[in-house]
Every structure is written in C-alpha cells, then in structure tokens.
Symmetry: C2
Amino acid sequence: MGVGIKDVARAAGVSPATVSRALGKGPVSEELRALVEAAVRSTGYRPNLAARRLRSQDSGTIGLVVADIRNPFFTAVSRVVEDCAYRAGMRVILCNTDEDPEREALYLRLMQEERLTGMIFAPTRATLDQLAHRALDFPVVLIDRAGPGGQHDAVVLDNHEAVGDLVAHLVERGYRRIGGLFGNASTTGLQRRDGYVAAMQRFGLQPDFRLLAPSAEAALQLLRAWLADPQRPEAIVASNSLLLMGTLRAAREAGLAIPQDLAVAGFDNENWTELVEPGITVIEQPVEEIGRAAMSLLFERLKTPTLPVRKLVLSGRCVARGSTASRTS
Amino acid sequence: MGVGIKDVARAAGVSPATVSRALGKGPVSEELRALVEAAVRSTGYRPNLAARRLRSQDSGTIGLVVADIRNPFFTAVSRVVEDCAYRAGMRVILCNTDEDPEREALYLRLMQEERLTGMIFAPTRATLDQLAHRALDFPVVLIDRAGPGGQHDAVVLDNHEAVGDLVAHLVERGYRRIGGLFGNASTTGLQRRDGYVAAMQRFGLQPDFRLLAPSAEAALQLLRAWLADPQRPEAIVASNSLLLMGTLRAAREAGLAIPQDLAVAGFDNENWTELVEPGITVIEQPVEEIGRAAMSLLFERLKTPTLPVRKLVLSGRCVARGSTASRTS
DNA sequence: CTGAAAGCGCTTACAG
DNA sequence: CTGAAAGCGCTTACAG
C-alpha cells in the first residue's frame, strides 16, 4: 500500500523527476505542473518525509530541549518556537531533561541521530560547561541559560539587572533583611544569586540566600525552617515561579501575612501571581520575544554559518503588586 | 562528512549487515557484537534515523495534536505522553491547532507525510465529525473530546458526572440560580453543558448558560454584561480553567465578593485555584492517568489492530474550596 | 524544461 | 550466524 511518486508520475504521464520538481521548487512548465497537481489529487499522494529527508540531507527539524515543558516559561517559549518552525515548514522535536545531565546527554545523542537542522537548548550548568568541548553537527542557540562568552548564540534575560530591580524595589519600600532563594541547577539561578548579592552590597545590606533544587516542594521545605528563625527575612526574592509558589505556600502555612509579615517578589509573570491577593511583584520575561529571537538567531546562523557568535540580552519588566507594598511598621 | 554503517563495518572487519544486526535485535555472535561496539565507539557512529525509518517502514513517531500546549491540561498530558514515548524509543511531534479546523486538516496531512506510527488527538467538533469518513493510515486515540460511539479509541473524563457533582455541591450549599459557562468549540464543552442542564433539571432548577469561545477574555467580556444583570446568577460553573480565570477576573472587576456575592466553581485543579483566596472549587482531572491510558490504548491497538474500539471514561475528583462555601444569607 | 540514472543510509529477505 | 544484494521513496546532478 501507499502511493508513491512513481504512481503519480504514471498517472500524470511524466517522469518521477518531474513530479518531484513540480512539488518542490524545481523548474517545470505550467502544463506539466497542472498535470502533476491533478495526478496528486486523484491519487491522494502524500510525500514520504523520511525519504525526502534522507535524500535531501536536510531533516527540516528543530530540536527543543528544555528542563520541563510544565515550567510556564518553557511552555510559552515552546509555543512560539513551534509556530515559527511550522511557518518555516519545519518540524520540532521536544525533549524534557528535568535538569538531569544524563538525560541531556541522551537527548543530545538522539538529536544527532535525527540529523537536526538546528537546536534550541536550555542546558544545566554541567552540560553547558561540556558543550564547549563537544562538537555538534548543527548550530545551537541557548535560551534562558548561558555562560559568559561561549561558542553558541544565546538569548537570555538580563538577570543581573532584573534581580537588582527587585532588590531596589524592596529597599525603596523599606525592607532591609531581604532573603534570596535561587535554583542550583542552572546558570540562571547562579546569575540571579550574583545579581542579588551585588545589589544587596550596593545598598550596604547583608546578603542572605539559599541555593536549592528548583521546585516548589524544595522551597516549601527549606522555608519551613528559615521562616521559623527569629532572624527571618522581612522579604523573600525567589528566582523562578516554582520557588515563588513554594514561598507563598510556606508563608500561608506559617500564618504570615503578606506583605506585613513577609514581603514576596519573584520571577515570571504567571497568571496566578496576579490572581492571588495580594498580587505578587514579579519580573516579567519577554517570553514571546525570547522564542522568536532564538529562532531568528538560528535561521540566520543557518544562512550564514560564519557569523560571529551573538548573545542577545533582553530586559525584564518589573511588575509591582501588593506583595511588596511599603513597610509601615 | 558523516560516518555511516559502512565505515563502522570496515573498522570492525565485518559486513554492513552485521553492523545493522548488532545495533538492532538481529542474531549476532558475541564476538562480532563486541567488535562492532568497539568500532561504533572508535568511529563515533550515530545511526541516521531518517534512513532507518525509510527502510524499516516504521517512523517510530507519535503525533500529539492538541488545541494549545499552554492550556495546562494539555501541558500536563503532553509531558506524560512524551515520557511514555521516549521510554518506548519513540519520538513525539506536537502540533497546536488553536481549535481551528483548517489547521487541524493541515496537521492531519502533515502527520500522514510523517507516516506516523500513531496519533493522540484532541479534535474540535467539526473535525471529530469528519474523522469518521476520513481514512487515516495510523491508529488514533482521542483524548479529552470524543463523540458517542465513534471509530477511534478514546480516553475522556466523565463530563456528565463531573458537572453533575459540581451542581449538586452548589445546590447542597444553598445556591439556586446557578449559571453555566461552556466552551463552544469542543464536544467537551457541549457535554458539560448537557450534564449541567440535566443536573439542574434533576434539582428542579432553571438552567441558564452561555456558550462562548474558550478564552479568559471571552468569559470576562460576557460576564461584564451578565453580572450587571439584576437577575444575575448566585453561582457560576465554568467548563475549563480559562473560562474560570475570566470568571474570577470579572467578579473582582465587578467588586463581587466570593462566595458571598458570587460562588464560583470550575474545571482543572490548577495551582492558582488553590493559591487564590478563597480557593476555587474545581473538578480535578486525572491528567497523568489520561496521558498514560492514551498511550496504552495506542500501543495495544498497534499490537492488536483487530481489537474492538475502546472508550475509557475516567472520573474527576471534586475538590471543594472556599469559593463555594455554604450560602448564609 | 525534461528524463534516465544514481544514490541518500540504512534493513531485510535470500542464500549459504 | 554471516554476507552480498536489493530496495525503502525520494532528489539531484547529468545529459539532452
């Protein structure tokens, strides 16, 4: 079963080569093109992409490798990436690594076997370091996480600036003991930690932070102890939406009123941060732009492989809400 | 560039056929297998999946076609589906239709060109109706949406029961004028509408519902008028998390206290429904089980194509929260 | 513009 | 168990 290009050729009374050209960009006379199109319709022919990819040596496939599609940041980015890809006639293949370097290595192998056209990757620190040594057969654009310098194009948030905005915002409103919660698996968490420390020192304040697994549960556990401390922070800055959610849960559990007993600020302008009362002050990332920019960098790299490495650093937007209202006590 | 199976064969001193067998499940002696494995390592060989797929006539690819990956229900299901697929050595290719029948048709064609092994599909009503006529070359498992009978395996929520639980819950707590908000693009919205009407009649109450586009914005707009009506409902049941979010926004905007001025209940146990105050009463769907069951049905269908059509109807769980506390007035 | 022929990189009957 | 050969369904130089 399965009608192939030869069946179409026979039905149209032309050669398989002509069918191929009529379907692609090859030069064909209008008459033959019409014959072929009619034959395609009458036979119900559908090209076999595996054959096309093998022969043309072009998989037309973008790999998108992220920590977890359920992280809303990656959900949003993936939607943009897929729209861009389909519009360009390409497929995307998505992998969730759960921040596990072994799974990252596994999927990198898989991506090679797919003979990817290009990849968009949010690596863990461990893999980011190795990426320099490792030769991939396709261009890579890093998103969300990238080291200094680097051999790959990247589009990231200005983490230093963003967390600085958050700290400044809190200081302005009278908070001094500002604690930080940062993910320990990605460069992003560490960059935000660095930005936090720098900002605190700029204000002459004592940094006080914790690195932890980037999950709501981990944050909740850690904060149970931290918030019980008499020297507990007046405010918490959380470096992603999962940690932020854990922070909110912990505050509720401890019976702390926000912001009177504990101010809260974090990253990612999720729906719930607005719906909760009081609303949570967050840094909104330009997710759409991040996705589009990553695809643009990739396409430009494919067109001109000799381009110098480019790193796009985008600014977040501080959305101030009730969770960081001025300290009145 | 690119080392192929022939290069490995030469390095190992065996035939390409033997390399292929050693890498696959073919019968090979232990000695030759070891030679091949060493050669694979020394050459850095990675199989070309396009070639393998073409030759073996097995794409090893699952299509997952949903309305929008940003809908948390689909986000969660997609994660489960991908885990199952990768564990079985298969790839998944994801498409977002935005409930647009034209895009659904486009992606169905694409899936045929990919020579899918199988597909998991959440269709709109329009496409669901056509699916009966249309011959696909691969098995399809419907999720979230399915008609009565049907020629495809399916796993869906017991919508009738779930919405009945919600209505009963509200009635028990003293609400009578219970309005309904249902999506108009999917069978799910209509089934929940039907369940709502049936439940209201069972309690001798007057159904009062609206069908609308399944978006928070549409719900917000519609409710601006509805909630201004002096005969406005005492409670709103919303048929998915987007409509529910719009409902909450509208209530806030209108200055209505929940549940005193307006009780609210809906579908999908999103994080925010718990974090908001009061918490929102919702039907929790067994998303993990839905994803796993869909993959199981698909794999069993592939193994035994003659199996009778199976439709799995799973029950939701009613999570009662403050948004539907007993009516005190 | 068109066709005949070669070949992309594998797997799989077919012999042995 | 192993190898030589054919072929999956296309595209693309190569001639004309």
